[in-house]
Structures are given as C-alpha cells and as structure tokens.
C-alpha cells in the first residue's frame, strides 16, 4: 500500500504543477497551445527530452537486454543519440523560425501554406492523428494496470483497473486542460528529472546490494548460454541497421514538432542538441546494463516476464520506499500521453476549427475553449476505449509499433518542404499515401502471419512476447505484477535467457521478400521502416519533378533571397 500512496502523492504533485501553470497563463491561443513561445532553455531541454522518453527507456530496454544482450543500447539508444539531435538541429530550428515568422502552431499549417493546398494538410492531419490516438488509449490502459498492480496486497488490488485508468485520465486531462503547454512542459521537465534521479539511485543501490558487478559480469561471460548477451550475436545486422531510421520519427511526431515551437529563443536549441545524447546515455545505459545483470540473477524468465527485470532487481535489493518511487517513475512513463493529448488538441483547434473559420467567427477565446473541450473529449474517448477493449491492448501496441515507422517515413516530406524549393504538394501526397498504405499493409501482414511466428518453446504468443521494436510505451508497465510475485522474483530454474528463434518465410512463393520473426514482418530481413523511408523519399522526388511547383510568391516567402531580405529590412 505504501507504494500506491507514493504514487498518489506523485499524481497530486503533477496536478498541482498544472494548476500552478494555469495561474501564470493568459487567454491567447498561443499562450495555451505553445506556452506563449516563451519556454526557457532548461525547461525546453528537459520537456523535449521527457516528451520523447517512455516506459521503454527504463523498463522495456532492460527487458529486451535480458534476452538479447547489450546490443539494445546501440539498437535504440545510441542511434537516437545522434539522429534525434540532428533532426532537431536541421528541422526543429527551421520549424521554430517559420513558426515565429508566420505564426504557425502545427506542422499542418506550415505544409498547407508551403504547398498552397488545404487538402494535403488535411490528409496529413488525419494520418498523424490516426497514428497518435493508440498511444493515448494505451496510456490510460497502462495507468489502470499499473495502479492495480502497485496497490495489490495479498492478491487483492486496492485500486481497480477501472478506477486507476479513470484516475490517470482525470489527472492528465486536468493538468493539460488547465495548464496547456506550459503545464505539460513543466510536468515533463519534472518527470525527466525523476527519470534521471531514479536511474542513478536504482543503479547505485543495486550495485551496492550485489557487491559490485565485476563477478556477475565475469560469470555471465564464462557461461556459454549467457555469454552472447555481452555482444550482439543475438541481433541480426539488418535489424541493427534498420533501427537507424526509427529515430527519424521523433521530429515528425506532432507533440515533438509542436514542442519545438515553444522555445523563447533559437539559442535554446544549442544546449538541447548538445545535451540530448548525454541525457539518452544517462537513462539507457544503466537500464540496459541492469537487464544483462538480471540474466544472471533471474534466469529462465519468459519473454513477457522479462520486461519486469528491473523491478525484480529493485524489489530484491531495495526497500519499499525506493519501490514506491519506482512506482511513481513508472507512472511518469505511462503519463507521457499528456503531450500527445495536447498535440491532438492543438491540431484540432488550429487545423480544423480555426482553418475552417471557427476562430474568425467565434474569436480566439472560443478557440482556446474548443481546445480544452477537445482535451476532455479525447481523454474520455481514451478511457471508454480502454474499458471496452481492456483485453485487446495487443492491437494498440501493434498500431504504435507501426506508427513509429509511419512517422519516420513522413520525414522526407518535411525535409522536402524545408530544403527543396522544387518539392510539390503532389510529391507530398504520393509519399503520404505510400506511408499510409505501408502502415496498414505491414500491420495486416504481421497479424495475418501470427500463426507462423517463430517463438521459443514455452514462450507466450508473439504479440504478448513483444520485446519489440518500436516500443509500446506502456508495454512493460502493463505487465507489472502484483507485490507478491515481484518479491518472489526468481523462478526456480537455471535456464539462461533463450535466444530468439530464426525467422520464417511469410510466403514461400516470394522467397525471403517477407520474413516473419517473433514480433514483426521484415523485408529481406530489414524492418519495414527502411523500405518505407526510401520509398517515401523516392516518391517525394519523382512526383515533385513531374508536377508543377508552388507559385513564385510562395517560394520567395519560404526561401527569401538576399535581395528580398534587404527589401523587408
């Protein structure tokens, strides 16, 4: 029960932060949706980073490292450490500058104006909204399941799934409703500090309790069954390479790109891009390392159970207080859906309400209240869906996994808009249709091939096993176990973590074109994100070259020549 009380205290703190932000707010839409474009450098860095960090960073990564080894760090963390700051540097700064100049508050506003076409913006709005909604639903599901698990004593939960989900939805809704972007950014900054402190404390306490890691690591190296965890032997090179493309998704997520517009000065990006890789390292390195350590402490866990190894390590090596802080940390991960709810609300009120005349007709205050009403509506929708489809979380996890690839494959469209004068709306439309088709297609192929998915003996079905790719943000936390099993941690077996089973051909007639591994369908062994990004870029270029570019006035507006700058000055 102590753990649940600490989590409730955490929820009260974030709620207070939201209400405090409300007191500092003004009535303009720019203030509510973008914190008045006035965030300082520290909050900007911490909130941008926190918005991007989900449960997978602390819990999921250690679960995957448990079965696949240290390569997880290179696979997901160090690739993000270079690609995400690069995208913020090249794309984020330009979005910020254009937003400041022309008043854009969403990507869609910019793309509509850049290509002189409302339709392309509406299509991209629908596509991004469809890929974002599953996150919000699974956030509420994760909240309910986490609170239920944390509050369970002697097999009896004090907080039910329904009540826990309602509480999380209510808290997130409240601080987004009142605080808008300012409240959300402050909460995210607070959560990032919590992540960083939690990682350091957990690592230190576990190291002290185990008497250091030297002997454990040497034991793992000496055991032929666990030795491969110290290298990347369990990781296909094609998969490792494909993962370099996944972080392209970050800047295309609406909540990240909108967050880029909140900086007060462009100079705030400087420290953000430099410290971003360090923050990633500080959070992921201990998580991955502890995942490998857990392989020697709790051998024989099945893939689904392995997601909880860091919790098992903590419960076995620390007291109830640290465990409670851990619960708060998990809630922080689960509640990462706040910025996604706000992003959807911003998109709705700007790209739909204001674009179709609502702002002109009813005024700016009505627009802000429409945004707030949308926050309530989306939170309610997520909660009702989470109740109705309680046992179907796998569908949303799958949707999220492919959404990462989808957002990554939208990156060439943004690059075309920002850097290539000759890009056209038709090129962007062709690339968007390609992305939508691929997301649906790979989702269909993956579900259709579930029955042939290779899995080690004794493992649960493929989707439930899923130490996958792109990381359902609450995949780990949804599998939290009640107190007793956590404390009971180790299973009475000496078996080492099982290596992943080799992939099988999806359709033998097509050879290795589509291969099915434990979690997804691949193309010649490469993750779908690779052909999706390449296809999107090719279509953007080829179709743009075949169609008429935007007017000279628009090109001058977005690519002002030196003479034009002098004229303006």
């Amino acid at each position: 029960m102590t753990r649940a009380l600490i989590v409730f205290a955490y929820l009260a703190i974030v709620l207070y932060i939201g209400i405090f932000a409300f007191r500092r707010s003004k009535t303009s839409s720019e203030d509510f949706f973008l914190a008045g474009r006035k965030l300082g450098p520290a909050v900007f860095l911490l909130s941008l980073f926190g918005t991007n960090m989900t449960a997978v960073a602390i819990l999921g990564s250690s679960g995957i490292a448990y079965s696949r080894g240290i390569g997880v760090f290179g696979l997901m963390a160090s690739s993000s450490a270079i690609v995400i700051p690069l995208t913020i540097f090249f794309i984020g700064t330009r979005l910020w500058a254009l937003g400041k100049r022309f008043g854009h508050m969403t990507q869609v506003q910019y793309l509509r104006d850049r290509w002189e076409c409302a339709g392309i913006g509406t299509f991209i709005f629908a596509l991004t909204a469809a890929m974002l909604v599953p996150y919000i639903i699974i956030g509420v599901m994760g909240g309910g399941q986490t609170l239920e698990a944390i509050s369970t004593v002697d097999g009896k939960p004090w907080v039910s799934y329904e009540f826990g989900g309602a509480l999380v939805a209510l808290v997130v809704m409240s601080y987004v409703f009142f605080g808008g972007m300012r409240g959300t950014a402050w909460v995210n900054a607070f959560q990032t500090v919590l992540f960083l402190c939690f990682g350091a404390i957990a690592f230190t306490l576990i190291a002290r309790s185990l008497g250091g890691f030297d002997q454990i690591m040497q034991g793992i190296a000496a055991n032929p069954r666990t030795g491969p965890l110290l290298s990347r032997e369990r990781m296909p090179a094609e998969e490792f390479f494909s993962y370099m493309f996944i972080p392209l998704s970050a800047i295309m997520f609406p909540h990240i790109s909108i967050m880029c517009l909140t900086a007060e000065k462009m100079g705030h990006f400087r420290k953000t891009v430099i410290f971003y890789p360090i923050c990633i390292m500080l959070i992921w390195l201990p998580s991955v390392y502890l995942g490998v350590v857990a392989a020697s402490q709790f051998p024989g866990l099945r893939p689904g159970e392995a997601d909880d190894v860091i919790i098992r390590l903590l419960t076995a090596n620390t007291g109830v207080l640290v465990s409670g802080i851990l619960g708060a940390g998990i809630m922080a991960c689960v509640m990462a859906s706040d910025s996604q709810i706000l992003a959807l609300s911003t998109m709705f009120s700007e790209d739909i309400f204001a674009f179709y005349g609502g702002k002109k007709r009813f005024g700016e205050q009505a627009q802000v209240w429409t945004g707030r009403a949308f926050v309530v509506a989306i939170a309610l929708f997520a909660y009702i869906t989470a109740l109705a489809l309680k046992d179907k979380a796998g569908i949303f996890e799958l949707a999220i996994r492919f959404a990462f690839s989808g957002f990554a494959a939208l990156a060439p469209i943004m690059l075309g808009a920002l850097f290539w004068k000759r890009s056209t709306k038709w090129g962007a439309l062709a690339a968007s249709v390609w992305v939508a088709t691929c997301v649906i297609g790979t989702g269909y192929l993956t579900r259709a091939s579930d029955s042939i998915a290779p899995r080690p003996p004794g493992a649960p079905p493929a989707r439930a096993a899923a130490p996958s790719a792109a990381l359902p943000q609450v995949a780990s936390s949804t599998r939290l176990q009640p107190d007793a099993p956590l404390l009971g941690a180790a299973r009475p077996t000496s078996a080492a973590p099982r290596p992943p089973a080799p992939p099988v051909q999806n359709n033998p007639g097509l050879g290795n074109l589509f291969l099915r591994n434990a979690t997804t369908v691949t193309v010649f062994g490469y993750l779908p994100v690779l052909p999706m990004v390449v296809g999107s870029a090719l279509l953007m270029v080829l179709v743009s070259l075949m169609t008429t570019p935007p007017s000279r006035a628009t090109i001058e507006k977005y690519f002002p020549s030196n003479s034009e700058k002098t004229r303006i000055a």
Binding site: I70, G71, F73, G74, A77, S78, S79, A81, I82, P85, L86, F89, T93, R94, W96, A97, K100, R101, G212, F213, D214, I216, M217, Q218, A221, G227, P228, L230, S231, R232, E233, A237, F240, F241, M244, M266, G267, R270, V273, I274, F275, Y276, P277, I278, I280, M281, L285, V288, Y289, V292, P560, K565, I568, A569
Partner: protein
C-alpha cells in the same frame, strides 16, 4: 569548414555500425562489455558532433530573419514602434 563537417557527420553515422565488435565479448574495466562501452562512447561522440555543428554550422540566418521581421513589424506599426522605444529606454 562546412564540407569537412558534412564528412564528419557521415563518418559518425557510419561509425554506429561497429561490425568489428559484433561478436566481441570482452570486458572493459572488468565489468563493462566492450560493445556497450563503445556505444556509450558513441553517445559522447554524438554530443561532440552536435557541439561542432552548433559552433560551425549554426543556422544564424534564421535568427537574423526574425530580427528583420520584428524590425519591419515595429516600423510598420507606430504603436509597436513606441512600445519598442520605451522598452529600449
């Protein structure tokens, strides 16, 4: 400087694919797998790369454009111009 930096960024991206440590299980300092130590170092290299980009490749023209627009807006609007003079005072 810009071409050199571009080559540097491409090189850093290529260095992520460290095939030379793929099957190496040796431990650094007795407890850190060499592949993990490499990628931790890679994250630091990424931070250094970003620092170089910020230092030598910063899109300062975007900031200048903001100044142009702000100045032109102030000169076009007498009220803002007055407010601007007060602020400067």
């Amino acid at each position: 400087m810009k071409p050199l930096l571009a080559i540097w960024v491409v090189l850093v991206l290529l260095l992520h694919q460290d095939i030379w440590f793929w099957k190496d299980r040796s431990l650094v300092f007795g407890s850190i797998p060499i592949g993990l130590a490499y990628h931790a170092g890679y994250a630091i290299l990424a931070a250094i790369t970003m620092a170089l980009l910020v230092r030598f490749f910063w899109p300062g023209q975007l900031e200048e454009e903001q100044v142009y627009v702000a100045d032109s807006a102030i000169s076009a609007d007498p009220a803002r111009a007055a407010a601007g003079s007060e602020a400067r005072l």
